[in-house]
């Protein structure tokens, strides 16, 4: 079993995924918990953008990619994950 990511990595990871459009911004009123499935899907999409194996886990490579130099704009535009992407 891959080692569980440290709480700090999860927290930073969720912030990062939210900032770049993979997760919808948290809504204080609903305080909806991020379902693990949604988090896993968000991580998979991010791994595709980063050219990483799409494990859905916040593994070491994924956390490291979140620290790489990049463009400030979100990767997923509009409501997270709902924008239709052109597939060849």
């Amino acid at each position: 079993r891959a080692s569980e990511p440290a709480a700090q990595d999860v927290s930073l990871g969720v912030d990062w995924l939210t900032r770049y459009g993979y997760l919808p911004p948290p809504h204080p009123a609903q305080a909806q918990l991020q379902s693990p499935a949604k988090l896993r899907d968000a991580i998979k999409v991010m791994q595709r953008f980063a050219g990483l194996p799409e494990t859905g886990l916040l593994d070491r490579g994924t956390v490291a990619a979140m620290h790489k130099p990049r463009c400030s704009l979100p990767d997923v535009l509009g409501v997270a994950g709902l924008v239709k992407r052109r597939r060849r």
Binding site: F49, P69, C71, L77
Partner: protein
């Protein structure tokens, strides 16, 4: 690819670099040239055109480029070195739409080794459009240091045109920095990026030709009021031809004759049928220089070089930069003069012709190439000792001599079969000459 959902309605977009990197070793000229190339990379694949405008323009340009740090009055504060590098705003009606910001705390570089120069660059006679061959203003940065400004600029201008991030492996629109992408003058978008762009703006209406997006040189100062008895049209008759020098300078073609010159705009329109005075325009050119024997615009940095006798002078825009220099600096024997000089935008090499010989100078390495002079007969059909040679905005090469020109189609070293042609009607708004003797055709190269 992904589309942002917005795009520009117009097809010609204006741009300006409003602020430059404070800490970078890149000169402002290099930054502007890199931006020109980054925009051109998108322009050649679509119907889009980009025009650089000055700060005195009537309105703000569509794409305003800034180097800023930390919080800079938009919703994407930068975070110091590393992390976020840049961002751009999608097309729209808002004043910030299209604007592009680079983090000034990054070490912006150009020319760090981006892999070996493609062999095609070695081809001595590959002729391409009017591009801008770049050279690093400083020795190339060792690999791994700094962030390649050209690569990031191409990415950000993709956003400024309406593209979102892409996960395609070879796309420039991937969100993460992928390192340098090679020679800006040759860079071509990946298929994924081309498809996304063409979804928005369609394909280029014709083979992609670079059109210079730098502002042409400022107009000459108005001529002083002529004394009443002066001839109606001072100076020589342009329709006689026999020019001393001809050069394509930022898209305009300059025809020099004695202490005069004419300017032809990219549209083919003469700025004026009256010649302008050499010394009133080229500030600092010594008064004793009354004939310019050759001229060209140097591609790495846009400087303009004027040659007379065994010397040449370097101009930044219209101002002389430094003292006269000997032609031997460019590899010619001491005391030698030139008939013609021209530069290949693609490989950054400059060719200097005297009689039937030519030398080659490597602008990027700042040294003459070994193994020269060579025989000019390599250019099949070209006249010996031409008045001058220049590469047009469409990438064709033109040799001029007397009242005729020889055209070499883009990428060819053979003159068009119907060369030479009278230059007056095509270039100078002059009547076709009476069917006088055709210019002597030079013997075919053996």
């Amino acid at each position: 690819y992904a589309l942002s959902g917005s795009m520009w309605k117009k097809r010609t977009l204006t741009w300006r670099v409003q602020s430059f990197p404070q800490s970078s070793a890149l000169s402002q000229e290099t930054v502007r040239t890199l931006m020109h190339h980054a925009l051109t990379a998108w322009g050649v694949e679509s119907g889009l055109r980009f025009r650089e405008v000055g700060s005195q323009g009537p309105s703000e340009p569509d794409i305003l480029i800034d180097f800023a740090r930390a919080y800079h009055q938009d919703s994407y504060p930068f975070d110091g070195q590393g992390g976020t590098l840049a961002h751009a705003f999608f097309p729209g009606e808002h004043s910030i739409s299209g604007d592009t910001h680079f983090d000034d705390e990054e070490t912006w570089t150009f020319g760090s080794k981006a892999g070996p120069t493609p062999s095609c660059l070695a081809a001595p006679f590959l002729v391409w459009g009017w591009g801008t061959q770049l050279q690093p203003t400083l020795a190339p940065f060792p690999d791994g240091e700094g962030t390649d400004l050209f690569a990031v600029a191409v990415h950000e201008f993709g956003h400024a045109l309406g593209l979102g991030h892409s996960s395609a492996p070879d796309s420039i629109m991937r969100p993460f920095y992928q390192g340098p992408v090679g020679n800006p003058a040759e860079y071509r978008l990946s298929q994924d990026d081309r498809e996304g762009l063409q979804q928005l703006y369609g394909k280029a209406p014709q083979p992609p030709y670079d059109t210079p997006t730098r502002k042409p040189l400022a107009p000459p100062p108005p001529p002083p009021a002529l004394p009443p008895d002066s001839p109606s049209l001072p100076g020589p008759d342009r329709c006689e031809g026999n020019f001393d020098a001809i050069a394509n300078i930022r898209g305009e073609t300059f025809f020099f004759k004695g202490p005069w010159f004419w300017r032809l705009q990219p549209s083919g329109q003469l700025v004026s049928p009256r010649p302008a005075r050499l010394h009133r325009f080229w500030e600092g050119l010594p008064a004793q220089v009354q004939v310019i024997q050759a001229a060209y615009a140097r591609h790495p940095d846009g400087r303009i070089l004027l040659f007379s006798g065994p010397q040449f002078w370097v101009f930044q825009d219209r101002q002389l930069e430094g003292a006269a220099r000997p032609l031997s600096d460019l590899g010619l024997p001491p005391g030698e003069a030139v008939d013609a000089v021209f530069s290949w935008p693609l490989n950054g090499k400059t060719y200097l012709i005297r009689g039937r010989r030519y030398w080659r100078y490597d602008e990027a390495a700042a040294r003459p190439d070994p193994g020269y002079p060579r025989d000019l007969s390599l250019w099949e059909g070209a006249p010996l000792a031409p008045d001058d040679v220049t590469v047009s905005n469409t990438g064709d090469t033109y040799f001029f001599k007397g009242a005729h020109y020889w055209r070499f189609p883009k990428g060819s070293v053979q003159a068009e079969p119907d060369s030479p042609q009278p230059m007056g009607p095509k270039w100078l708004d002059c009547p076709a000459p009476s069917a006088g003797p055709r210019a002597p055709r030079t013997p075919k190269a053996t």
